[in-house]
């Protein structure tokens, strides 16, 4: 009876299976809390009160900001309304030109307004405009 040796036939499939299992275990461990969760946060009564005060102060602060913004919007609307009404009294021609819808003007500029970032770009402002 003769034996035929085939290289790595015995070991390779087993190693691949282990590696695969290890990979799965690692990936599962990343998305589960076991052994990774910190201890529960137990606040003392005074710390709890401090936390509640901070949270309340923040919500008050935001409510004030919101109220201020809403008031500003109301004032802006009223200001526009007053201006247009005054225009109607003074110059009906301009009033008509102003109140006729014209979609061209409200088109957002191409490549236009830049979103503010935390730090400025290297070229802060482009002083030369492209000729049209």
């Amino acid at each position: 009876m003769s034996k035929v040796f085939v290289r790595f036939k015995r070991t390779q499939p087993a190693t691949a299976a282990i590696l695969h299992a290890q990979k799965m275990a690692t990936q599962l461990s990343v998305i589960t809390a076991s052994r990774k969760a910190p201890r529960l946060l137990k606040l003392r009564p005074e710390d709890l009160i401090r936390h509640q005060t901070v949270t309340k102060a923040w919500s008050l602060f935001q409510a004030e900001e919101r109220a201020e913004q809403e008031a500003q919007l109301r004032n802006q609307y009223q200001s526009t309304l007053d201006a247009v009404e005054l225009l109607q009294k003074i110059s009906p021609r301009l009033y008509k030109s102003v109140t006729t819808p014209d979609n061209n003007i409200t088109v957002f500029p191409r490549g236009g307004l830049r979103t503010p970032t935390e730090y400025p770009p290297t070229i802060v402002w482009r002083y030369q405009i492209k000729p049209n």
Binding site: V54, S79, L87, I105
Partner: protein, 269 residues
């Protein structure tokens, strides 16, 4: 019917002639960087971020660094390890509760191994360290009011100083019979500040009306943004100087009743 119609037209026309109509332009440069945080905001955000770090799961470094690699070794070397629990030792700050090299009672500081730093490396090199540009510019240091690069975190408004020494928003009289408010303001701006300016007029509807003291002179304000180029004051008879100012500075420069008219139109950021 027809007669009365004609009469009203005539009366309106005569009324129009008595008043001088100007179109004013509120030209703004929007902020380039995010608004500066107040002291309270800073503290609150810091508090929240510390809370979040305290409640964060332990960083699974084994997921990011393969076992036995140089990268893993460098990472592990850079970490600061907490005090471990030993039998018969008294710990003044409580008994350590360590799992996966993390003290579970406090936040975990994940320290990234430092790459070699060389700020002077050329801009072409993609692996150079990230160095953010400063939020204050040269114009802030020199106090140059005419620069568009000052106060990056605030909205700037263009103000002009007329020959009588008073500051005001650019104001242009409607001269032709068929002139429109927003077009008049745009062409006026270009004759005053040169053609090298790119603006976007938000709407042709005026946002405010300001009557001069005697009431014979009315300015209707149009809102616009500067997108590129710059305002370069040309030789003219009406204005002698210009400045890009924030809302607070605008308040100090113009008359109170004038400011009250435009107060709600200017951004506090």
């Amino acid at each position: 019917m027809i007669r009365s119609g004609i009469r009203t037209m005539a009366s309106v026309a005569s009324k129009e002639n008595t008043k001088v109509i100007n179109s004013g332009l509120i030209l703004s440069r929007i902020p380039i960087v995010t608004p500066d945080l107040t002291e309270f905001e800073k503290k609150y955000y810091n508090y929240q971020s510390e809370l979040e770090k305290r409640l964060m799961w332990t960083f699974p470094y084994y997921f990011y660094f393969r076992k036995g690699t140089l990268a893993e070794r460098r990472f592990l070397k850079a970490q600061k390890y907490p005090v471990s629990k030993q039998p018969g030792v008294w710990y003044p700050k409580g008994i350590p509760d360590i799992r996966q090299n993390r003290e579970r009672r406090s936040k975990q500081d994940v320290i990234l191994p430092k790459e070699q730093e060389d700020i002077n490396e050329s801009l072409e090199k993609i692996s150079r360290p990230v160095v953010p540009n400063p939020r204050t510019t040269k114009a802030d240091e020199t106090g140059d009011l005419t620069s568009l690069e000052r106060k990056l975190s605030r909205t700037l408004y263009l103000l002009l100083k007329n020959k009588t020494g008073e500051w005001e928003f650019p104001t242009f009289q409607l001269k032709e019979d068929d002139a429109l408010l927003h077009l008049n303001a745009e062409t006026g701006l270009r004759t005053l500040g040169g053609k090298n300016i790119n603006t976007w007029t938000v709407s042709k509807t005026p946002v405010a009306a300001y009557e001069n003291n005697n009431g014979s002179d009315i300015t209707f304000f149009i809102k616009s943004h500067i997108l590129g180029g710059k305002f370069d004051l040309q030789e003219n008879d009406t204005y002698s100087n210009f400045a890009w100012l924030t809302k607070d500075e605008v308040k100090n420069h113009i008359k109170t009743d004038y400011f009250n008219k435009v107060d709600c139109l200017l951004s506090k950021v």
